[in-house]
Symmetry: C2
Protein backbone atom coordinates (compact mmCIF):
# COMPACT_ATOMS: atom_id res chain seq x y z
CA UNK A 1 0.00 0.00 0.00
CA UNK A 2 2.58 2.58 0.97
CA UNK A 3 4.82 4.51 -1.26
CA UNK A 4 8.26 3.05 -0.80
CA UNK A 5 11.67 4.65 -0.41
CA UNK A 6 12.81 5.74 -3.86
CA UNK A 7 16.34 6.93 -3.10
CA UNK A 8 19.42 4.70 -3.05
CA UNK A 9 20.23 4.26 0.61
CA UNK A 10 23.88 3.36 0.00
CA UNK A 11 24.42 6.37 -2.20
CA UNK A 12 22.84 8.71 0.31
CA UNK A 13 25.01 7.32 3.11
CA UNK A 14 28.09 7.54 0.97
CA UNK A 15 27.38 11.20 0.25
CA UNK A 16 26.55 12.05 3.85
CA UNK A 17 29.64 10.23 5.08
CA UNK A 18 31.70 12.24 2.66
CA UNK A 19 30.32 15.49 4.08
CA UNK A 20 31.02 14.46 7.67
CA UNK A 21 34.47 13.26 6.68
CA UNK A 22 35.38 16.53 5.03
CA UNK A 23 33.91 18.92 7.57
CA UNK A 24 33.58 16.98 10.78
CA UNK A 25 30.33 16.69 12.68
CA UNK A 26 29.88 20.23 13.97
CA UNK A 27 30.93 22.07 10.83
CA UNK A 28 28.68 19.93 8.64
CA UNK A 29 25.33 21.65 8.31
CA UNK A 30 22.00 20.10 7.53
CA UNK A 31 22.03 22.13 4.32
CA UNK A 32 25.36 20.52 3.35
CA UNK A 33 23.76 17.12 3.83
CA UNK A 34 20.67 18.08 1.86
CA UNK A 35 22.85 19.33 -1.00
CA UNK A 36 25.15 16.32 -1.01
CA UNK A 37 22.48 13.65 -0.74
CA UNK A 38 19.91 15.30 -2.98
CA UNK A 39 17.31 14.35 -0.41
CA UNK A 40 14.77 16.72 0.95
CA UNK A 41 15.24 18.02 4.47
CA UNK A 42 12.22 16.21 5.77
CA UNK A 43 13.18 13.03 3.99
CA UNK A 44 16.42 12.96 5.94
CA UNK A 45 14.52 13.37 9.18
CA UNK A 46 11.96 10.76 8.16
CA UNK A 47 14.47 8.20 7.02
CA UNK A 48 17.46 8.83 9.26
CA UNK A 49 16.14 10.83 12.19
CA UNK A 50 18.17 13.98 12.60
CA UNK A 51 21.78 14.95 12.24
CA UNK A 52 23.28 13.01 15.15
CA UNK A 53 21.46 9.85 14.15
CA UNK A 54 22.59 10.17 10.56
CA UNK A 55 26.12 10.74 11.78
CA UNK A 56 26.02 7.54 13.83
CA UNK A 57 24.71 5.66 10.81
CA UNK A 58 27.55 7.05 8.73
CA UNK A 59 30.10 6.00 11.33
CA UNK A 60 28.74 2.47 11.31
CA UNK A 61 28.59 2.36 7.53
CA UNK A 62 32.16 3.65 7.33
CA UNK A 63 33.26 0.98 9.80
CA UNK A 64 31.54 -1.78 7.87
CA UNK A 65 32.86 -0.55 4.56
CA UNK A 66 36.41 -0.42 5.87
CA UNK A 67 36.12 -3.80 7.50
CA UNK A 68 35.09 -5.28 4.16
CA UNK A 69 37.95 -3.58 2.36
CA UNK A 70 40.41 -4.82 4.98
CA UNK A 71 39.13 -8.37 4.88
CA UNK A 72 39.35 -8.32 1.12
CA UNK A 73 42.90 -7.05 1.03
CA UNK A 74 44.11 -9.23 3.89
CA UNK A 75 42.77 -12.44 2.38
CA UNK A 76 45.90 -12.47 0.23
CA UNK A 77 48.21 -12.17 3.23
CA UNK A 78 50.96 -14.73 3.36
CA UNK A 79 51.20 -14.53 7.15
CA UNK A 80 50.27 -12.41 10.17
CA UNK A 81 53.09 -9.96 9.72
CA UNK A 82 52.37 -9.57 6.02
CA UNK A 83 48.72 -8.94 6.86
CA UNK A 84 49.74 -5.98 9.03
CA UNK A 85 51.97 -4.71 6.26
CA UNK A 86 49.10 -4.93 3.79
CA UNK A 87 46.87 -3.10 6.27
CA UNK A 88 49.28 -0.19 6.54
CA UNK A 89 49.68 -0.14 2.78
CA UNK A 90 45.92 0.13 2.49
CA UNK A 91 45.97 3.23 4.67
CA UNK A 92 48.89 4.62 2.71
CA UNK A 93 46.97 4.15 -0.51
CA UNK A 94 43.99 6.02 0.92
CA UNK A 95 46.17 8.91 2.02
CA UNK A 96 47.95 9.22 -1.31
CA UNK A 97 44.77 8.83 -3.36
CA UNK A 98 42.96 11.75 -1.76
CA UNK A 99 44.49 15.03 -2.80
CA UNK A 100 43.41 16.53 0.49
CA UNK A 101 43.39 13.61 2.89
CA UNK A 102 41.02 14.00 5.81
CA UNK A 103 42.31 11.12 7.88
CA UNK A 104 40.08 8.45 9.36
CA UNK A 105 36.46 9.40 9.98
CA UNK A 106 36.45 7.45 13.23
CA UNK A 107 39.76 8.82 14.52
CA UNK A 108 38.50 12.30 13.70
CA UNK A 109 35.39 11.50 15.67
CA UNK A 110 37.55 10.51 18.65
CA UNK A 111 39.27 13.88 18.75
CA UNK A 112 36.15 15.89 17.99
CA UNK A 113 33.68 14.24 20.34
CA UNK A 114 35.52 11.47 22.17
CA UNK A 115 34.25 12.42 25.58
CA UNK A 116 30.96 14.19 24.92
CA UNK A 117 27.96 12.25 23.56
CA UNK A 118 27.59 8.91 25.38
CA UNK A 119 26.20 7.21 22.27
CA UNK A 120 29.29 8.26 20.36
CA UNK A 121 31.69 7.32 23.15
CA UNK A 122 30.08 3.90 23.28
CA UNK A 123 30.51 3.33 19.58
CA UNK A 124 34.11 4.51 19.71
CA UNK A 125 34.98 2.22 22.60
CA UNK A 126 33.44 -0.78 20.88
CA UNK A 127 35.31 0.10 17.72
CA UNK A 128 38.56 0.41 19.63
CA UNK A 129 38.13 -2.91 21.43
CA UNK A 130 37.15 -4.73 18.26
CA UNK A 131 40.01 -3.27 16.29
CA UNK A 132 42.60 -4.05 18.97
CA UNK A 133 41.29 -7.61 19.13
CA UNK A 134 41.55 -7.86 15.36
CA UNK A 135 45.13 -6.61 15.45
CA UNK A 136 46.05 -8.85 18.38
CA UNK A 137 44.83 -11.87 16.45
CA UNK A 138 47.07 -10.99 13.52
CA UNK A 139 49.98 -10.52 15.89
CA UNK A 140 49.36 -13.88 17.52
CA UNK A 141 49.19 -15.53 14.12
CA UNK A 142 52.44 -13.87 13.09
CA UNK A 143 54.12 -14.96 16.29
CA UNK A 144 53.00 -18.55 15.89
CA UNK A 145 54.30 -18.50 12.34
CA UNK A 146 57.62 -17.14 13.55
CA UNK A 147 57.42 -13.86 11.64
CA UNK A 148 56.78 -11.65 14.65
CA UNK A 149 59.01 -11.63 17.72
CA UNK A 150 57.67 -12.54 21.14
CA UNK A 151 59.13 -9.60 23.03
CA UNK A 152 55.57 -8.59 23.82
CA UNK A 153 52.24 -10.39 24.05
CA UNK A 154 49.70 -10.22 21.20
CA UNK A 155 47.54 -7.88 23.28
CA UNK A 156 50.48 -5.56 23.96
CA UNK A 157 51.49 -5.42 20.32
CA UNK A 158 47.84 -5.03 19.38
CA UNK A 159 47.63 -1.91 21.52
CA UNK A 160 50.84 -0.64 19.98
CA UNK A 161 49.57 -1.18 16.46
CA UNK A 162 46.26 0.49 17.27
CA UNK A 163 48.02 3.56 18.60
CA UNK A 164 50.46 3.56 15.71
CA UNK A 165 47.70 3.40 13.15
CA UNK A 166 45.85 6.31 14.73
CA UNK A 167 49.05 8.31 14.58
CA UNK A 168 49.71 7.31 11.01
CA UNK A 169 46.25 8.29 9.85
CA UNK A 170 46.49 11.66 11.58
CA UNK A 171 50.00 12.30 10.28
CA UNK A 172 48.76 11.63 6.75
CA UNK A 173 46.41 14.62 6.96
CA UNK A 174 49.32 17.06 7.01
CA UNK A 175 52.01 14.94 5.43
CA UNK A 176 51.43 13.49 1.99
CA UNK A 177 55.03 12.74 1.10
CA UNK A 178 55.14 9.09 0.10
CA UNK A 179 58.72 8.54 1.23
CA UNK A 180 58.05 9.97 4.67
CA UNK A 181 54.91 7.90 5.11
CA UNK A 182 56.63 4.74 3.91
CA UNK A 183 59.42 5.38 6.39
CA UNK A 184 56.92 5.52 9.23
CA UNK A 185 55.31 2.26 8.12
CA UNK A 186 58.69 0.56 7.84
CA UNK A 187 59.63 1.60 11.35
CA UNK A 188 56.32 0.50 12.85
CA UNK A 189 56.65 -2.91 11.21
CA UNK A 190 60.34 -3.22 12.09
CA UNK A 191 59.36 -3.26 15.76
CA UNK A 192 57.51 -6.52 15.27
CA UNK A 193 60.26 -8.37 13.43
Amino acid sequence: MPKVETFNRDFVLKQATSVFHEKGYNAASMQDLVDATGLNRSSIYNSFGGKMNLYMTCLKSYQDHYFLQINNKLSNAKNGLNALELLLELYLKDILEDKRDMGCLITNCVTEMGNQEPIITNFLNNNREGFIDFLSDLIERGQNEGFINKNSTPKEYGLYMYSSIQGFRTTGILLSNKNDLTTIIKTIIQTLK
Copy 2:
Protein backbone atom coordinates in the same frame (compact mmCIF):
# COMPACT_ATOMS: atom_id res chain seq x y z
CA MET B 1 46.46 58.95 27.94
CA PRO B 2 44.51 55.80 27.15
CA LYS B 3 42.86 53.47 29.53
CA VAL B 4 44.87 50.28 29.53
CA GLU B 5 43.88 46.63 29.50
CA THR B 6 42.71 45.66 32.95
CA PHE B 7 42.30 41.90 32.49
CA ASN B 8 45.05 39.33 32.91
CA ARG B 9 45.97 38.34 29.39
CA ASP B 10 47.48 35.01 30.43
CA PHE B 11 44.44 34.06 32.44
CA VAL B 12 42.07 34.93 29.61
CA LEU B 13 44.11 32.88 27.15
CA LYS B 14 44.26 29.96 29.57
CA GLN B 15 40.49 30.02 29.95
CA ALA B 16 39.83 30.37 26.23
CA THR B 17 42.29 27.60 25.44
CA SER B 18 40.48 25.39 27.89
CA VAL B 19 37.18 26.00 26.10
CA PHE B 20 38.65 25.21 22.68
CA HIS B 21 40.38 22.16 24.08
CA GLU B 22 37.19 20.76 25.57
CA LYS B 23 34.82 21.53 22.71
CA GLY B 24 36.99 21.98 19.66
CA TYR B 25 36.81 25.05 17.47
CA ASN B 26 33.39 24.68 15.89
CA ALA B 27 31.49 23.57 18.96
CA ALA B 28 32.95 26.35 21.09
CA SER B 29 30.61 29.33 20.98
CA MET B 30 31.46 32.94 21.57
CA GLN B 31 29.18 32.77 24.60
CA ASP B 32 31.29 29.92 26.00
CA LEU B 33 34.35 32.10 25.61
CA VAL B 34 32.66 35.10 27.21
CA ASP B 35 31.60 32.96 30.17
CA ALA B 36 34.98 31.29 30.62
CA THR B 37 37.11 34.41 30.29
CA GLY B 38 34.82 36.81 32.15
CA LEU B 39 35.46 39.30 29.39
CA ASN B 40 32.80 41.20 27.59
CA ARG B 41 31.95 40.22 24.05
CA SER B 42 33.28 43.42 22.60
CA SER B 43 36.42 43.24 24.69
CA ILE B 44 37.26 39.93 23.09
CA TYR B 45 36.77 41.42 19.63
CA ASN B 46 38.76 44.54 20.58
CA SER B 47 41.63 42.67 22.15
CA PHE B 48 41.77 39.43 20.20
CA GLY B 49 39.83 40.09 17.02
CA GLY B 50 37.18 37.45 16.56
CA LYS B 51 36.89 33.76 17.21
CA MET B 52 39.33 32.46 14.64
CA ASN B 53 41.97 34.95 15.68
CA LEU B 54 41.53 34.05 19.33
CA TYR B 55 41.78 30.39 18.42
CA MET B 56 45.07 30.94 16.63
CA THR B 57 46.38 32.86 19.63
CA CYS B 58 45.36 29.97 21.86
CA LEU B 59 47.11 27.47 19.62
CA LYS B 60 50.31 29.50 19.77
CA SER B 61 50.02 29.97 23.51
CA TYR B 62 49.41 26.23 23.95
CA GLN B 63 52.44 25.48 21.80
CA ASP B 64 54.65 27.86 23.77
CA HIS B 65 53.39 26.59 27.08
CA TYR B 66 54.04 22.99 26.12
CA PHE B 67 57.45 23.80 24.74
CA LEU B 68 58.39 25.37 28.06
CA GLN B 69 57.10 22.37 29.99
CA ILE B 70 59.02 20.01 27.73
CA ASN B 71 62.25 21.97 27.97
CA ASN B 72 61.85 22.04 31.71
CA LYS B 73 61.30 18.34 32.06
CA LEU B 74 63.93 17.34 29.52
CA SER B 75 66.66 19.40 31.14
CA ASN B 76 67.05 16.51 33.56
CA ALA B 77 67.45 13.96 30.79
CA LYS B 78 70.51 11.76 31.11
CA ASN B 79 70.74 11.20 27.35
CA GLY B 80 68.79 11.46 24.13
CA LEU B 81 66.87 8.25 24.63
CA ASN B 82 65.98 9.16 28.19
CA ALA B 83 64.77 12.54 26.96
CA LEU B 84 62.27 10.80 24.68
CA GLU B 85 61.19 8.57 27.57
CA LEU B 86 60.62 11.63 29.75
CA LEU B 87 58.66 13.25 26.93
CA LEU B 88 56.30 10.30 26.66
CA GLU B 89 55.97 10.19 30.43
CA LEU B 90 54.97 13.85 30.35
CA TYR B 91 52.16 13.01 27.95
CA LEU B 92 51.16 10.04 30.06
CA LYS B 93 50.95 12.26 33.12
CA ASP B 94 48.70 14.70 31.26
CA ILE B 95 46.38 11.92 30.15
CA LEU B 96 46.11 10.37 33.59
CA GLU B 97 45.69 13.70 35.38
CA ASP B 98 42.66 14.77 33.38
CA LYS B 99 39.65 12.75 34.31
CA ARG B 100 38.30 13.24 30.81
CA ASP B 101 41.35 13.64 28.67
CA MET B 102 40.83 15.66 25.51
CA GLY B 103 44.07 14.78 23.80
CA CYS B 104 46.38 17.39 22.34
CA LEU B 105 44.83 20.70 21.28
CA ILE B 106 47.04 20.83 18.21
CA THR B 107 46.45 17.23 17.15
CA ASN B 108 42.73 17.85 17.57
CA CYS B 109 43.11 20.87 15.36
CA VAL B 110 44.77 18.74 12.70
CA THR B 111 41.80 16.39 12.50
CA GLU B 112 39.17 19.12 12.81
CA MET B 113 40.56 21.67 10.38
CA GLY B 114 43.78 20.26 8.97
CA ASN B 115 42.94 21.02 5.37
CA GLN B 116 40.52 23.94 5.58
CA GLU B 117 41.73 27.36 6.79
CA PRO B 118 45.09 28.25 5.19
CA ILE B 119 46.20 30.19 8.29
CA ILE B 120 45.58 27.12 10.40
CA THR B 121 47.22 24.73 7.94
CA ASN B 122 50.26 26.97 7.91
CA PHE B 123 50.54 26.95 11.67
CA LEU B 124 50.10 23.18 11.78
CA ASN B 125 52.77 22.56 9.17
CA ASN B 126 55.24 24.78 10.98
CA ASN B 127 54.42 23.03 14.22
CA ARG B 128 54.93 19.64 12.62
CA GLU B 129 58.26 20.58 11.05
CA GLY B 130 59.55 22.12 14.25
CA PHE B 131 58.47 19.19 16.34
CA ILE B 132 59.98 16.61 14.00
CA ASP B 133 63.23 18.58 14.00
CA PHE B 134 63.16 18.67 17.77
CA LEU B 135 62.62 14.91 17.92
CA SER B 136 65.27 14.23 15.29
CA ASP B 137 67.81 16.17 17.33
CA LEU B 138 67.08 14.04 20.38
CA ILE B 139 67.42 10.91 18.25
CA GLU B 140 70.72 12.06 16.85
CA ARG B 141 71.98 12.80 20.33
CA GLY B 142 70.89 9.38 21.54
CA GLN B 143 72.57 7.71 18.59
CA ASN B 144 75.83 9.56 19.17
CA GLU B 145 75.68 8.54 22.82
CA GLY B 146 75.11 4.93 21.83
CA PHE B 147 71.68 4.61 23.45
CA ILE B 148 69.69 4.58 20.22
CA ASN B 149 70.38 2.17 17.37
CA LYS B 150 71.34 3.37 13.95
CA ASN B 151 68.92 1.23 11.96
CA SER B 152 67.34 4.47 10.76
CA THR B 153 68.47 8.04 10.37
CA PRO B 154 67.57 10.72 12.94
CA LYS B 155 65.07 12.20 10.48
CA GLU B 156 63.42 8.83 9.91
CA TYR B 157 63.13 8.09 13.59
CA GLY B 158 61.97 11.65 14.17
CA LEU B 159 59.09 11.07 11.77
CA TYR B 160 58.30 7.81 13.50
CA MET B 161 58.25 9.44 16.92
CA TYR B 162 56.07 12.27 15.67
CA SER B 163 53.53 9.85 14.28
CA SER B 164 53.72 7.69 17.39
CA ILE B 165 53.12 10.63 19.70
CA GLN B 166 50.10 11.74 17.71
CA GLY B 167 48.70 8.24 18.01
CA PHE B 168 49.46 8.05 21.69
CA ARG B 169 47.74 11.34 22.45
CA THR B 170 44.67 10.30 20.48
CA THR B 171 44.57 6.86 22.06
CA GLY B 172 44.67 8.48 25.50
CA ILE B 173 41.33 10.17 24.83
CA LEU B 174 39.51 6.84 24.87
CA LEU B 175 41.92 4.74 26.85
CA SER B 176 42.91 5.89 30.34
CA ASN B 177 44.24 2.56 31.62
CA LYS B 178 47.72 3.26 32.90
CA ASN B 179 49.05 -0.22 32.15
CA ASP B 180 47.84 -0.12 28.57
CA LEU B 181 49.31 3.32 27.99
CA THR B 182 52.61 2.34 29.59
CA THR B 183 52.75 -0.70 27.34
CA ILE B 184 52.41 1.50 24.28
CA ILE B 185 55.20 3.80 25.48
CA LYS B 186 57.46 0.85 26.21
CA THR B 187 56.95 -0.54 22.72
CA ILE B 188 57.54 2.79 21.01
CA ILE B 189 60.78 3.26 22.93
CA GLN B 190 61.87 -0.35 22.43
CA THR B 191 62.08 0.32 18.70
CA LEU B 192 64.87 2.81 19.26
CA LYS B 193 67.02 0.63 21.49
